[in-house]
Amino acid sequence: MEAAFPPRTFARGFHAEKLMTMRVLLADDERDFVDTLAERLSLRGYEVTTVHNGAEAVRAATSARPDVAVLDLFMPGLPGDETLRQLKVMYPDLPVILLTGHEAVDDNGTSPVAKAFACLTKPLAFKDFVAVLEAAARAGRQASEGGEDGQ
């Protein structure tokens, strides 16, 4: 039942003053939501790739090399926490934001969810979401620069 849709890439300039393009991977099976969110982000200069399940997210992470990944926690097939775990094995410095339709997910810090940069509940306030995206990208850059310094 899991249709294999090719990843969609949105990239249309709106804020020409944006100097550095941030690449964002959005994975959510709620297609209307993810496509609309992608369009809004692309209008602000983000380069967005959308996919609709966890397996596609893992594949798209390799091809799109995002600065930040945003995953729905309850996706069909490979759920968000397992997708997060696989992404962290492949790209330890990649910041991952989890989206969920439920409140509070991990209280004891032992599940893969604890490795997420942030866990946000839908519906999102777009401004807050963008602020978290930017903070996640900064943290990702710092982590990879720290890794390079250490080598």
Binding site: M1, T36, R40, P123
Partner: protein
Amino acid sequence: MDNDSQCMARLLASAVHDLRNVLAVIRESAGLAQDLTALAMRQEQAAPDPQRLAGVLGEAQQSVIRGAALADAMDYVAQAARAEDNAPGPCDMTRVCRFFCLLAARQARAVQMRLESGEAAEPVWANVPPLALFGLLLDVLDLCASVGGQVTLRFTAQRHHREEGIVVDVPDGSNRELVLAALAGNPRLESLRPGWKAALMPWREAEPRFFLSFSSVADA
């Protein structure tokens, strides 16, 4: 927690998740409409592209309709729970099937299943407690999920040989054969309450399908 409460908790959690998604689509669609208007003003256009704007607003409207349907289903569950505290009346199995498919859609999607309620020509009234019937349908869904899901599962209320029940069939899906075998294996239905009996019986016509009967032991 008793079976009815467990069933209600699972269905409501699934529905709330979908309702949050509905709200998220409405919020982002409204935001996108604002973005398009702001963009048009910035580019000194009189208005954003009307076709694009109509599409965005159409998505919001569709989501409102979806949200209203979910609210109806949640309301039905609440009313059913309240009615059972007093005296259970007859329930329309067609509505139960329709509302179950809405409420459990998210749970089904998690195992790559799709739920459909078949169209019945008229209401199928039965003197059964609706919450227990929801529980039985959840048992059937769990049974299909336990062997891997990945099918479409259809529930149609029907009167068969003067007995009201629900026809269960699996019209398509990559895992159809395994799911049909699980349904044919005389499964135990866990959600039964004392004084009631249920059975999922193979019913062979043009294709394999099953009849879920549910009645009071006293009626036997």
